[in-house]
């Protein structure tokens, strides 16, 4: 794992958490949209909070796809769940909401899970298909290579 890869994983976490909270804040300003007035949903983009939230979610998707290009799904998903922890910390220290003991316990479990998964390798190495049935001379060359 290089520093750049950790940066991409941090991007997954931060963009997901900030995108969700910006959208939530924006949509409370827009108000509830009824099924009879669906075009209002398009106008909701005009709200600056919603617009920035959507940009953040695009950033999330880009960094999520990048992470999946070099790491296993079972590595990226737990790592990205740190976003939930970030949301709870934002609620506590920036929005000054009350964080209950149950939620602190949830934060503890998620952090422990992320700790477990990041101890291991990020990618399962599959042997190339040719290696499964090596012919005689190929097998000889693979034995020589360290």
């Amino acid at each position: 794992m290089t520093f750049r890869k950790y940066l991409v994983l941090a991007g997954v976490t931060v963009f997901a958490a900030s995108g969700d909270s910006l959208l939530r804040h924006g949509m409370t300003e827009v108000g509830s949209i009824s099924l009879n007035h669906l075009p209002d949903l398009i106008l909701a983009i005009l709200n600056p909070w919603v617009a920035v939230g959507i940009l953040c979610l695009l950033g999330f998707f880009a960094s999520y796809m990048t992470a999946l290009s070099w790491a296993d799904l079972t590595y990226v998903l737990p790592a990205s769940s740190l976003g939930y922890v970030l949301l709870a910390l934002i609620a506590k220290f920036i929005l000054h909401e009350q964080v209950t003991t149950t939620r602190w316990l949830g934060i503890l479990l998620i952090s422990a899970g992320v700790g477990f998964v990041t101890q291991g390798p990020e990618l399962t190495h599959h042997p190339p298909k040719a290696d499964l049935k090596p012919c005689a001379d190929e097998a000889a060359t693979t034995r020589v290579t360290p």
Binding site: S69, W70, P78, G106, G120
Partner: protein, 126 residues
């Protein structure tokens, strides 16, 4: 009866988003290391290669189904049940699906991680 609706909604969300995640992961493994590709061929080449991958398109379709299932599920059931239940079950379902469909080596560390994160997400939203 309402419970049945709510839980079949949750099941749909979990299945659709797991399918989406597995398809997207497979697509990106086929595309290859995006960082390397970007250095060699530039941004548009990378984007073009991703959006032309059939697994990517199917994955996005599955994610769309999951999104609308979540919207419907939230309108039928309680937010405090549907959102955490579907999010936390998706973590476990993904670990199982990654083992069987992506042949990832899900060792005890990764099982523990999936279960702990699933439990943590359920508690956070409870």
């Amino acid at each position: 009866m309402k419970q049945l609706y709510v839980w079949s909604g949750i099941l749909t969300i979990v299945l659709a988003s797991t399918t989406g995640d597995v398809l997207l992961a497979r697509a990106m493994k086929q595309v290859g290391d995006v960082g390397e590709l970007f250095k060699q061929a530039g941004l548009w080449k990378v984007v073009g290669r991703i959006v032309r991958n059939p697994y990517f398109l199917l994955g996005v379709l599955a994610m769309t189904v999951a999104f609308y299932a979540l919207l419907f599920g939230l309108s039928w059931g309680d937010v405090s049940l549907v959102a955490p239940a579907s999010a936390s079950l998706t973590f476990v379902a993904n670990a199982v699906a990654a083992k069987f469909f992506l042949h990832e080596r899900v060792d005890h560390r990764r099982w523990m991680a999936a279960l702990l994160v699933a439990g943590g997400v359920a508690l956070l939203a409870a």
